[in-house]
Amino acid sequence: MSLVAVTRSEYTKQFSTVGWWVLAIVLVVYVAFTAGVLALVFGGVASGRLTGNGPTPQTEGLAGLVYSSASGVGYVFPLLVGTLMVTTEFRHKTLTPTFLATPRRGVVLGGKFFVGIVVGLLYGILGSAAAVAAGAGVLSIFGVDAELGSPDTWTLVGRMLLAFSLWALVGIGVGTVVRNQVAAIVIVLAVTLFIEPIVRTLGGLVSGFSEVVKWFPSAASDALVGKTIFGAMSSGGSGSLDWWVGGLVLLAYAVVFLVIGLFTTWRRDID
């Protein structure tokens, strides 16, 4: 009943169904495509092969911007996988055998927490690899420095891994609060794909609004990673949080959701 046993159990649970690698494949394809297109546009314009509308961007730092698309667009995937880790148990009623094996329910959530970190790291590695491979490949076609030897690039990758893990934890928190799987997925997609981008765009336009917007989870995530394509496009505003503050904010979201879930749905009768 120890936390180690539960974590091993949750690990087996997570990797014994197809869900994780289906999402992983979609993540890799999606991130690689985005990074490739960004590299094509920025690289093409910067190198002069494509004609841009605005001022020609500098080639320096371009690679990092392209690579950061892994977390910039890919954070939905660890968020989803974390959410599914919990809602699947409600959906398929597997909480019954789970709680029979581990009647101390909080320990179960602890096991999920650690496995969430592992899955987040795995997705971070896959997403970063896809972004770097596709981005560096396309940039090198245009003769732009892929900066693969630069420590900045690898610092960026490291922070992206951290961001992916934190997003998986936020997902577990969301799943614990919203136990209906369909509702949870709809909420996650609606918030990440519509509500946050719109609000953040408005935040870039209206002064003062950005002070609030920078505390949004995806803004905190971008702050943690450092460079983001979103940040580059909406240049206005009072800037973002420090990277470590961004990480703590994201962690705070995860913890708040988990605690709310722990004292509400997680304590309910299982039938």
Binding site: M1, S2, A5, V6, R8, S9, Y11, T12, K13, S16, T17, V18, G19, T88, H92, K93, T94, T96, P97, T98, F99, L100, A101, T102, P103, R104, D269, I270, D271
Partner: protein, 465 residues
């Protein structure tokens, strides 16, 4: 060797809003026995089990396993194995991985997974996804999950649901075997016929309250047993009985004589030179007793006075009570010799204050003369079932055992359904269901080839041999 533990429910209560699903339930389940936990649908069986297993929080009261709450058990899966429903699986996970998940959680060796899969006969499909499993296979996998930790206590909710007759027989012998090893085995069911051969003790609940606790043999009053006798020359037999002043009742399947052993009746007939075509002992239908218990018509002392009063208006009562006035209406029409009528045993006289025998008798009479609104709810085609004594059962529960003693037999309604159902449903019960239930409930040699699905009309005694 895992030790069986005593399960104890004390004042266990669960309310959902104003509705009491379980109402101050007191019960004790002993190790070394198979205990049947019976009640109609919605009686609170599953809720009680879930409270015992810490999945549902009781409104008040406690449920303990060996004196401890489930949540306080040091190693739960090694103490209690539970299978609550046949759908607690991720459809995309293989059977082996499903078990591996819980073996890991309980710190059990992974080799245990193959062991339990072999035990329940799922070794061949260990790598297949559970989503493609039939209900019977899921039941087996649920049982495998319960057995994973080799626990001393087994709690199974409707374990034979979805199993084929062979699977049911296998399940019964397994449960008996586990109980004989000293484990505590608690199985719930809404089918009395399904468990009555397997269980040693019974807990019956209705509307969340305990209505019976005790052995199967305590359920029926020995006075309610009767002898059924028939002869090709019925006139001679009835003359003989009249001559001896033995009260009887003539039904389609023969003469029913109360308070007389088959051996006495047989000797009597032999003395008179009457060839018999049928001679057997027949008990009051346990199912009728069960129905009366759950509907509140009958109260049993074992329930500790917590029985719902008979006056409580419940849907089940009219059905169960209605047969009581029938005998007087039905008997004259059926009993051939008019002289027999005055001698007809008045059931109420046998057990005063209990309408039970009356209810049992008209069940057979009704098809002949169905009094308006007086039809008993269940089909009560009588099937003699050997009730193996515990010693006999020790060897091989489903083994064909002839009734050794005339008294050791029960009657089971061939439908096997002990839920409270309206009369209309009984009449239109699907024949296939009847056939299955009969086959399940009766030892192999008792079920003969003529237990055809169509052969289960309510007064048909020919199902038995």
């Amino acid at each position: 060797m895992p030790e069986g533990q005593v399960l104890e429910l004390t004042g266990l209560t669960k309310r959902f809003g104003a509705v009491s699903a379980v109402d101050s339930l007191d019960a004790r389940v002993e190790p070394g026995l198979v205990t049947g936990f019976l009640g109609p649908n919605g009686a609170g069986k599953t809720t009680s089990l879930r409270m015992l297993l810490g999945l549902v929080r009781p409104t008040s009261g406690t449920a303990t396993i060996g004196g401890k709450r489930y949540a306080d058990l040091a190693s739960p899966l090694q103490t209690v194995g539970a299978a609550l429903e046949a759908s607690s699986f991720h459809p995309g996970r293989s059977a082996a991985n499903h078990l591996k998940v819980y073996a890991r959680a309980a710190k059990l060796p992974i080799s245990r997974v193959d062991e339990v899969l072999g035990l329940v006969g799922l070794s061949d499909v260990a790598g297949r996804r559970v989503g493609g499993f039939s209900l019977g296979m899921r039941q087996r996998l649920g049982l495998a999950t319960a057995l994973l930790g080799d626990p001393g206590v087994l709690v199974l909710d409707e374990p034979t649901n979805g199993l084929d007759p062979e699977g049911i027989r296998w399940m019964r012998s397994l449960l008996r075997h586990l109980a004989e090893e000293g484990r505590t085995v608690l199985i719930s069911s809404h089918l009395l016929a399904e468990v009555q051969q397997t269980v040693d003790a019974l807990l019956i609940i209705s509307h969340g309250r305990l209505v019976f606790q005790g052995g199967v043999e305590d359920l029926a009053d020995p006075d309610e047993y009767a002898t059924v006798v028939d002869a090709p020359d019925r006139a001679a037999l009835s003359a003989l009985l009249d001559e001896r002043g033995i009260p009887y009742q003539l039904l389609r399947n023969g003469f029913t004589i109360r308070h007389l052993e088959p051996v006495e009746v047989g000797a009597l007939a032999a003395g008179a030179g009457i060839a018999l075509s049928n001679l057997q002992s027949k008990g009051a239908s346990l199912e009728d007793i069960f129905l009366e218990l759950v509907s509140g018509v009958r109260a049993h002392a074992s329930a500790g006075g917590t029985t719902v009063p008979a006056a409580t208006p419940t849907a089940g009562i009219p059905d169960a009570e209605a047969p009581a006035p029938v005998p007087t209406a039905a008997v004259p029409a059926e009993s051939v010799p008019a002289a027999a009528v005055p001698a007809e045993p008045v059931p109420a006289a046998a057990v005063p204050a209990e309408p039970v025998p009356a209810a049992a008798v008209p069940a057979e009479s009704v098809p002949v003369e169905p009094g308006p609104g007086a039809e008993p709810a269940p089909s009560t085609a009588m099937v003699t079932v050997a009730a193996p004594a515990p010693a006999l059962r020790a060897e091989a529960p489903p083994a064909p055992t002839q009734p050794e003693a005339p008294r050791s037999s029960y009657s089971v309604a061939s439908t096997g359904v002990i839920d409270v159902v309206p009369p209309a449903q009984t009449a239109t019960a699907p024949p296939a269901h009847d056939g299955t239930a009969t086959a399940d409930a009766v030892p192999a040699d008792t079920v003969t080839g003529d237990t055809a699905p169509g052969n289960t009309s309510t007064d048909d005694g020919e199902v038995q041999r």
